[in-house]
């Protein structure tokens, strides 16, 4: 084939090839909402990936400036709409820090329990969609069965299933209903078995392993450069968890492990999240055990005002990573500016690095493992 005049280099194509541009999304079953990716593909190999966002932009950060502090909680529900409780906590935490409120212990414990239940439900949704992206259909229905129980628990607590609006600056609006603790405990005692069931379908499955091991590798340095947090970071070998690094609510009084894996691929992130569900379950059980009696709400002024010159940043470990609220006050009942550190948005930035040179099928696996919620990316 090759002769002296042939100027082709090894690895060059035999024929003239053209790269194809493919518009992946915003309406596509695997983009988990309205993510749009402009792809350059060579056959099935991805040579370029440019995420385009903004299809779900609702100006939430601006809306925060228009409403008094306590009226802003529902807006946080609608950012990461599958993990409302952690969003609530990050926001009310920032307001409490700004205004200077001390939350009573019972409220702190209830918040911890709610957040961990939320983490389980968010991870269940992630597992469902991730598995169905890779072609395994059945885990979807199994995880939704358990998620349903958690949503029922939420409904019983605050009347809502997704957009919970379940925290207030200063404490908790409601006490746990009668019988809630028992129902929650029954769920938590059964749940580890259910995780075994999901893992039985996936963890040792050869196809699952082939599809995830070595796919979408995220180097720890790259992850740190982008500011990636949450299970994404812990799958790359860096054990940073806000719950341990800067304990909030009642996390300093519970025992739990932070799972860390070192290969930084899709499979390791999968294992990290599965273990996180077990740990979250453990935290909920401890919370139900240690739940103290006492008031639910701090003494707070009728009109909450920010100090004249004040700012606060408060972050919690959400299911997707560190979610933080940065609030600047100007002596008014509304924030002057509220910025959200949205883990989905920041984790998404690492996507092009992870899929460069991968195949189309890997792309959906990587989008799944990034676990983004577009409501939070666009805000």
């Amino acid at each position: 084939m090759t002769d002296a005049t042939d100027s082709r280099q090894p690895g060059d194509h035999l024929f003239d090839v053209e790269e194809m541009e493919l518009n992946f999304g915003p309406q596509h079953p695997a983009t988990h909402g309205v993510l749009r990716l402009k792809l350059k593909i060579d056959g099935e190999r991805i040579v370029g990936c440019y995420p385009i966002i903004g299809y779900l932009h609702r100006g939430t950060e601006k809306l925060f400036e228009l409403h008094p502090f306590f009226q802003n909680v529902p807006h946080t529900d609608r950012m990461d709409y599958v993990a409302a409780a952690t969003n609530n906590l990050a926001y009310v935490g920032a307001v409490e820090k700004l205004v200077g409120l001390t939350v009573p212990p019972r409220a702190d414990w209830i918040r911890t329990i709610l957040c961990e239940l939320q983490r389980i439900s968010s991870h269940l949704l992630w597992l469902a969609t991730h598995a169905i992206d890779i072609g395994a259909m059945t885990p979807f229905f199994y995880t939704f069965r358990e998620r349903e129980v958690i949503l029922d628990l939420f409904e019983e607590y605050c009347g809502a299933r997704l957009t919970l609006n379940c925290m207030r600056p200063g404490g908790q609006p409601y006490d746990l209903p009668v019988g809630w603790v028992e129902k929650c405990r029954a769920f938590c005692e059964e749940f580890p078995e259910r995780i075994e069931e999901y893992e039985g379908l996936l963890t040792e499955n050869r196809i699952w392993k082939r599809r995830t091991i070595g796919v979408g590798v995220l180097d720890p340095e790259v992850a740190l450069d982008y500011g990636v947090t949450g299970p994404m970071l812990r799958g790359s070998g860096i054990g940073y968890d806000v719950r341990k690094a800067r304990p909030y609510a009642a996390y300093d009084q519970v025992e739990f492990d932070v799972p860390v894996r070192h290969n930084g691929d899709t499979y390791d992130r999968y294992l990290v999240r599965m273990e996180e569900m077990r740990q979250a379950n453990r935290i909920v059980l401890q919370g139900l055990e240690k739940l103290p009696e006492g008031p639910l709400m701090a003494k707070r002024p009728r009109v909450m005002k920010a100090p004249k010159e004040g700012e606060s940043y408060y972050s919690v470990e959400g299911p997707k990573g560190e979610i933080g609220f940065y609030i600047v006050g100007q002596g008014k009942p509304e924030p002057y500016r509220c910025h959200v550190r949205a883990p989905s948005f920041i984790n998404l930035q690492a996507l092009p690095d992870m899929v460069e040179g991968a195949l189309m099928a890997d792309l959906v696996a990587v989008i799944g493992t990034t676990d983004i919620v577009l409501g939070e990316v666009d805000r």
Partner: protein, 360 residues
Amino acid sequence: MSGLLAAMLEATGPTLFHYVLVPLIKIAIVLFAGVLPLIMYLVLAERKVLGFMQARVGPNRVGLWGLLQPIADVMKLLVKEDVVPRRAVRWAFVLGPCLVVAPAFVIFSVIPFGPPAATEGGISWFVTDINVALLMVLALATLPVYGIILGGWGSNSKFSLLGGLRSAAQMISYEVPQGFALVGPLLLAGTMSLVGIVEAQRDLGMWFIVPQFVAFFVFLVAGVAESNRNPFDLPEAESELVAGFHTEYTGIRFALFFLGEYANMIVVSSVAVTLFLGGWLRPFPSVEALSFLDLSFLPAGLGGVVWFSLKLFVFLFVYIWFRGTFPRYRFDQLMALGWKWMIPLALVNLFLTGLVKVWV
């Protein structure tokens, strides 16, 4: 019935009757009383079985246990608007679905659903028995892929094109091991007639799955890939390619692709049953003590049809079971599996079978 047939024989003369009319009637029966209802209810069965596996109920609104659901689905697909994208290549777009469905139906003409006629002029449970039936099956089983490639290319959509390309790659990787796997039973039986192969299994006293276990395994995997079913459903991988090659298809054209997929499932299963599981034979065909399993109290060899159907259903259940269990392979992994595992396995099996055939 037999009076009617006799009257027709009288009217047409023996040649026309035996070579034209009887096959035509049989084709009509196989298609409209056999394959088409089977496909419709296979879809329902799949949804029900998957529902059972996935902690839900499946369709149960239309008719008792959802029994009328397939009919409702067909009605819906028939009355839907038939969209041909403006920049599609029309002839390819139209030809694609037909090429998927037609060959699958033709294959049914050589599948023996039951034993041949015991007496002259009795009922034999196949449309025709030709001496190159296996070759014909192989040749026709290749055709649906062209339909998929044509449809994918003709849609003028990038997702469809990628689906079509995947299909081509899949075909190259899986036709070859499938062909090699079929040679095993062929060597043992010494005939390409499907009826002859089943009879050879009766004479041998066991199903070919016993001596040809490797070939059976290769054929099963290749067959799943051949009919684009999970875990090899890459050409339509919904989470990657939206709907793959049939992204742009609507209404009845889409239904044809759908029909083709299920028809191919049944074809592959029928061929596997015929070649490896003894077709219409009962289990342990040589053990006299089990001869009550022949169900010989049923008239006209119907017992054989019962056995054939049972085995077919087991196969189809396995297909559905796969779908409930496995994730999807990746494009390159699927090719690697085909070339690095299936083909060597099939070749080794072929070699050993040849040795046995020479020495025994």
